[in-house]
């Protein structure tokens, strides 16, 4: 009887496999048309001279790696540098504040009240339209905007400070917006990680009389290391994609003097001017950078999984 049933199940298993494939069709059809073919064609385009000169299209002519050479000789390094600086200026406070809050929220001895309300508020900016948020900051920090009004009213400033004409004020505000949008998200992710730490470990540390700093540096940080790495690398991948905020904030110019121009803003310029060769080369470079970062994510996650399995 049992054997017979197994046989039926097995037979059915074979015939059911086709449903598995069938249900995958929509996803893969759409993926191939709207992502994979465009990705391949982007790579292909990067080897051709193909741009608009006035109303006339030059190319496409095969030129090998010339696009890569000219884009590396252009301002690419400057824009990479801008992106990196603005990412770091936002990310360092982001991870610092998020770690602090995550530890506080999950500290049972501290017993903070109303953590639910705090979490709700600090996560909110993450869902806001970046373009609108950036427009809002632009109006707030414009020469005759509310921030200048308030500062002058308090007597802190004699005349309006022109935030958008200063390189570091502009970079700082862009980084500040990124910080505001992401520190709540990071806090919640890190908090979940800290809650997952074995309670006995923390208790043992408390019984041994470890100071909060010792518990933090010797118990909490090593235990959440994999998720910390995950957060850092995914944020880096997000940082490479930085676009909406600086684009709206500086009207696409990366002003002042292109010191806040990011990589994707540069790509956007090539897309608008229809310079497919240079745009393609830039896309491929961005693809390679994010692929390397993704491999690092997977490596860190797998290591964690091996460890967990080995430990238990």
């Amino acid at each position: 009887m049992k054997k017979e049933r197994q046989k039926i199940v097995k037979q059915k298993g074979v015939s059911y496999a086709k449903w598995g494939y069938l249900f995958l069709i929509p996803f893969f059809t759409v993926y191939i048309i709207f992502s994979l073919i465009p990705l391949i064609s982007t790579f292909y385009n990067s080897f051709f001279e193909n741009y608009m000169s006035g109303l006339k299209r030059i190319g496409p002519n095969f030129i090998g790696f010339e696009n890569y050479k000219s884009i590396l000789n252009a301002d690419l390094l400057q824009y990479m540098n801008n992106t990196l600086i603005m990412w770091l200026m936002g990310f360092i406070p982001q991870i610092g504040v998020a770690l602090l809050l995550a530890v506080w929220f999950s500290d049972l001895r501290l017993r903070l009240r109303a953590t639910g309300v705090f979490k709700t508020i600090i996560y909110m900016p993450n869902l806001i339209m970046a373009a609108a948020f950036s427009m809002l900051f632009f109006t707030l920090f414009s020469d005759s905007g509310p921030v200048n009004n308030i500062l002058m009213g308090m007597g802190a400033l004699g005349e309006p400070f022109r935030f958008l004409s200063s390189v570091w004020a502009t970079r700082g505000l862009i980084a500040g917006m990124n910080f505001l949008m992401w520190f709540g998200n990071t806090t919640i992710v890190l908090m979940a990680a800290i809650m997952g730490i074995d309670g006995a470990l923390l208790e043992a540390a408390a019984i041994d009389g470890a100071s909060p700093w010792k518990v933090f540096s010797k118990v909490i940080i090593p235990s959440i290391r994999p998720i910390l790495i995950y957060v850092i690398i995914t944020s880096m991948i997000g940082g490479i994609q930085m676009f909406d905020i600086p684009q709206i904030f500086t009207k696409g110019a990366g002003s002042p003097d292109r010191q806040s121009m990011t990589l994707i803003m540069y790509l956007n310029n090539h897309l608008f001017s229809k310079n497919y060769g240079m745009g393609g080369a830039l896309s491929v470079i961005l693809f390679i950078i994010s692929a390397i970062l993704s491999v690092l994510v997977f490596a860190s996650m797998n290591k964690d999984m091996v460890k967990r399995k080995g430990g238990k």
Partner: protein, 286 residues
């Protein structure tokens, strides 16, 4: 001994005070921009020019009427377009990601592991790196200035798939599927009538995230949409920014930003518990 305990209690109280001060400061940072936005959206242009005030004005409706009837900015159709695109994306992304996740979860087939690995790999590829080819292809397919390139691609959403797969792993025992088969349910209707209802909580959370992501999306729509009547809200905001903004009625500027931001905030306030739980659902299990 007592002294020691007192001092440690003092220390704890001090730490608690410091954490409250830091938290209140961060809450202030998060809320202040929105507070200014709310106040200024209710004030008229001359009032705003006079300087900042903490008291709301009485021009909320005037600003609203003006911005909705602005001849240069099709705001009303922008709202409708954004709602339509984001709504459709939310529905398609969750339904088809659920279907894809179910295919991997419930069936045994040879390429199963390879397919799963492939989707996990493409999850990390930024959209921007294939945008050049995407815009080029849409041009060749005569889909420029059309909503299709903004809606259909959400059928293949690796991140939503990942969440759905995690959810199925923890909630759908295969016995249920087996039982449905014995009762003579077809495979596709098993998915629609049994699996989708079970997945409702995950679908709701992911639909919200996809909706918000699409509502906020600026990069791709700005490259695809050309005509005024098809523009979405982020494009209108960018347009407002690149117009000579000092000539604008500032009351309208704040009102448009408020229209783009506050619907999402309202939904968030109603469903925040739900949403915050969704943030950690996928990332931590890893």
């Amino acid at each position: 001994m007592k002294e020691k305990r007192d001092s440690s209690r003092l220390l704890l109280n001090m730490r608690r005070s410091i954490s409250y001060i830091v938290l209140v400061f961060l809450v202030f940072l998060c809320l202040f921009p929105f507070f200014v936005l709310l106040v200024n959206a209710t004030r008229s242009h001359p009032d705003i020019q006079k300087g900042f005030s903490f008291i709301p004005g009485g021009s909320f409706l005037t600003n609203m009427v003006h911005v909705l009837n602005n001849e240069n900015l099709p705001v009303l159709s922008g709202i409708v377009n954004s709602l339509f695109i984001a709504g459709m994306s939310g529905i398609l992304a969750t339904y088809f990601s659920g279907l894809t996740a179910y295919a991997i979860h419930a069936y045994e087939f040879r390429l199963k592991r390879a397919v799963y690995l492939f989707i996990m790999l493409i999850m990390m590829v930024p959209v921007q790196v294939s945008t050049l080819g995407f815009v080029d292809l849409m041009g060749k397919m005569k889909l420029m200035d059309n909503f299709i390139p903004l809606i259909i691609p959400s059928i293949a959403s690796p991140v939503v798939f990942f969440f759905m797969k995690q959810y199925l792993d923890s909630t759908l025992p295969l016995d249920i599927v087996e039982a449905a088969r014995i009762d003579g349910s077809g495979e596709f209707s098993t998915f629609n009538k049994i699996v989708v209802p079970i997945m409702k909580p995950a679908i709701a959370v992911q639909a919200i995230f996809t909706f918000v992501g699409s509502w906020n999306n600026y990069f791709v729509p700005s490259l695809i949409i050309k005509s005024n009547s098809k523009k979405t809200l982020p494009i209108l905001i960018a347009q407002l920014r690149s117009a000579d903004f000092l000539k604008f009625d500032m009351g309208q500027v704040y009102m448009l930003v408020a229209i783009a931001i506050f619907p999402v905030v309202l939904v968030y306030i109603c469903l925040s518990k739900f949403i915050i739980r969704g943030v950690t659902a996928g990332s931590v299990k890893g």
